[in-house]
């Protein structure tokens, strides 16, 4: 990988990223189907270009919303940004740690207690025991779960699951928070608390990358990146970009 010239302010850099997938024209996801189709000679591979020459930079303390229709490659972009997926060409670089906010209750082990899940999830995110121990009181307090933290997670309601997940991600305070469509969680009071916390973290200088359709991004973010058909259609103040995006969607 090339060593990029590093601008002090920049925490996240995406440079000319193109992602192509080699996939079967008809989605093959079972061995049986693969064999049957191979015999029939019905296996056409086609190149599917998901992202085309995407470039942007995010500076420290910015809150950026990535908007776009379903299936335009937002999730793929997030995977590339977090370093899970290698792009076909171009590169993405992150200067700092990423803390992902997962979908409701995702990644929890139902049989384990809330406490055990905190440790397991944070360890998968790359935190050491010491770091988790330090943050533990804050996580438990923020989640408002009380003694339920010692019960197996499968006894939790969906709201409680969301609280736990949110509390873990938000308390670890990585430099970059990656948020994927989860702001509609828990009851109104907890939602308010989450927004409050997110605002506090922003004031602390943390960087946000949010993927969402909701209008809530208008109050939380200051910059929007609109992706359509694999390209960046617009990049600028969030209100302006969001309005252009909704207008475009209404036309269809």
């Amino acid at each position: 990988m090339k060593k990029a010239p590093h601008d002090e302010n920049c925490v996240l850099e995406v440079h000319d990223v193109t992602m192509k997938f080699n996939k079967y024209a008809v989605g093959v996801d079972s061995l049986k189907e693969l064999i049957v189709r191979a015999f029939k000679g019905d296996l056409k591979r086609e190149k599917h270009v998901c992202l085309k020459h995407i470039s942007f930079q995010i500076n420290r303390g910015e809150a950026v919303a990535v908007i776009g229709r379903n299936g335009v490659g937002k999730s793929t972009l997030l995977k590339i940004v977090s370093g899970i997926l290698k792009p076909t060409s171009g590169w993405a670089r992150v200067y700092g740690r990423i803390s992902p906010l997962l979908k409701l209750g995702a990644g929890f082990d139902g049989n384990a207690t809330g406490m055990e899940n905190i440790y397991l999830n944070a360890a998968i995110m790359g935190y050491t025991k010491k770091e988790i121990d330090e943050k533990l009181p804050e996580i438990i307090e923020f989640s408002e779960l009380g003694d339920f933290i010692y019960s197996p997670v499968k006894t939790y309601s969906s709201g409680m699951l969301a609280r736990l997940g949110f509390s873990i991600a938000i308390s670890m305070e990585a430099e970059i928070m990656l948020i994927d469509e989860i702001l509609a969680v828990g009851d109104v009071a907890f939602q308010k608390k989450c927004f409050e916390k997110l605002r506090q973290l922003r004031a602390k200088g943390l960087t946000f990358l949010i993927v969402s359709h909701g209008s809530a991004i208008k109050t939380l973010c200051d910059r929007g990146i609109w992706i359509e058909r694999g390209r960046v259609m617009g990049d600028g103040p969030v209100a302006e970009i969001y309005d252009r995006y909704t207008k475009e969607m209404m036309k269809k």
Partner: protein, 267 residues
């Protein structure tokens, strides 16, 4: 600085591994109120049932150098290392997909944790085996041999073999979800094709004896039983046992590395 960072990362991954292994073992015996005792009782009870059913058919068969109950149990617990690690690993990446979509973590850790927890289970089953051996020795049906400690030579080979297979299967399952059904059939077949409750000699079939050589589990099981009956397997047997282990490990590891990006895209 670089070195310190790497050490820090290794420490962190070792910690994650420990958590994963602990979770696997807890889940395995979850809700059984006798808890970890069950890890010892489970193979014992299985062995009792099988001994009861099969001892009159195979118990005094040709080539039976060990007491039948010991023969049964020893074969089963070695086979179980492979069985539990691979069947657990098969779905482990897909089960973690919500996390793996969002976090950069070496995916090989998950199948490895499964293999390690099978080894822990083997430790408990080994206690069960020792118990049976003591009982049979008291009845005069078995004599202890010191060679049993050489099981530590065998275990790395079985571990390598299981690791490779686990890497391969967990990666393949991401692409082909029907593998679950296919593999459970394969596993059943494999159980019956390995001399766990019969001896190869009782088959009285030359072809079967020749084909058996290609079954890695046959070698692992036989190696272990040789130790229990006081013989040390020869040099070629060591080559075979480690050859299978290394080959499986390399194939599994290389396969997983080759499709890593595909897994990331597919999950």
């Amino acid at each position: 600085m670089q070195k310190e960072k790497r050490l820090h990362r290794w420490g962190q991954q070792a910690y994650l591994m420990r958590l994963l292994v602990r979770r696997n073992i807890k889940n395995q015996y979850y809700r059984s109120f006798i808890g970890v005792l069950w890890t010892v009782l489970n193979p014992l009870l299985n062995m009792l049932v099988m001994a009861f059913v099969f001892s009159s058919i195979f118990g005094r068969g040709e080539g039976m150098t060990l007491d039948y109950s010991i023969y049964l149990l020893s074969g089963n617990i070695i086979f179980s290392i492979m069985r539990t690690s691979t069947s657990g690993s098969l779905t482990c990446l897909v089960q973690q997909q919500d996390m793996l979509q969002k976090t950069k973590v070496p995916i090989g850790l998950f199948p490895t944790a499964n293999v390690l927890s099978s080894l822990v289970t083997f430790g408990f089953s080994f206690i069960a085996l020792l118990l049976v051996m003591v009982i049979r020795a008291a009845a005069g049906a078995y004599v202890f041999h010191w060679q049993i400690v050489l099981v530590v030579v065998l275990l790395p080979a079985v571990t390598l073999f299981s690791l490779g297979l686990s890497y391969f299967l967990s990666a393949l399952y991401v692409f082909f979800r029907d593998l679950k059904h296919i593999y459970s059939v394969v596993l059943t077949l494999w159980t019956y094709l390995t001399p766990l409750f019969y001896t190869v000699e009782t088959l009285k079939n030359d072809l079967a004896e020749k084909v058996m050589v290609f079954n890695p589990m046959y070698h692992y099981v036989t190696y272990f039983r040789d130790l229990l009956s006081g013989t040390i397997p020869g040099g070629t047997e060591h080559l075979i046992v480690y050859g299978f282990g290394l080959a499986s490990f390399l194939i599994g590891y290389l396969f997983m590395s080759a499709v890593r990006n595909g897994i990331a895209a597919k999950l």
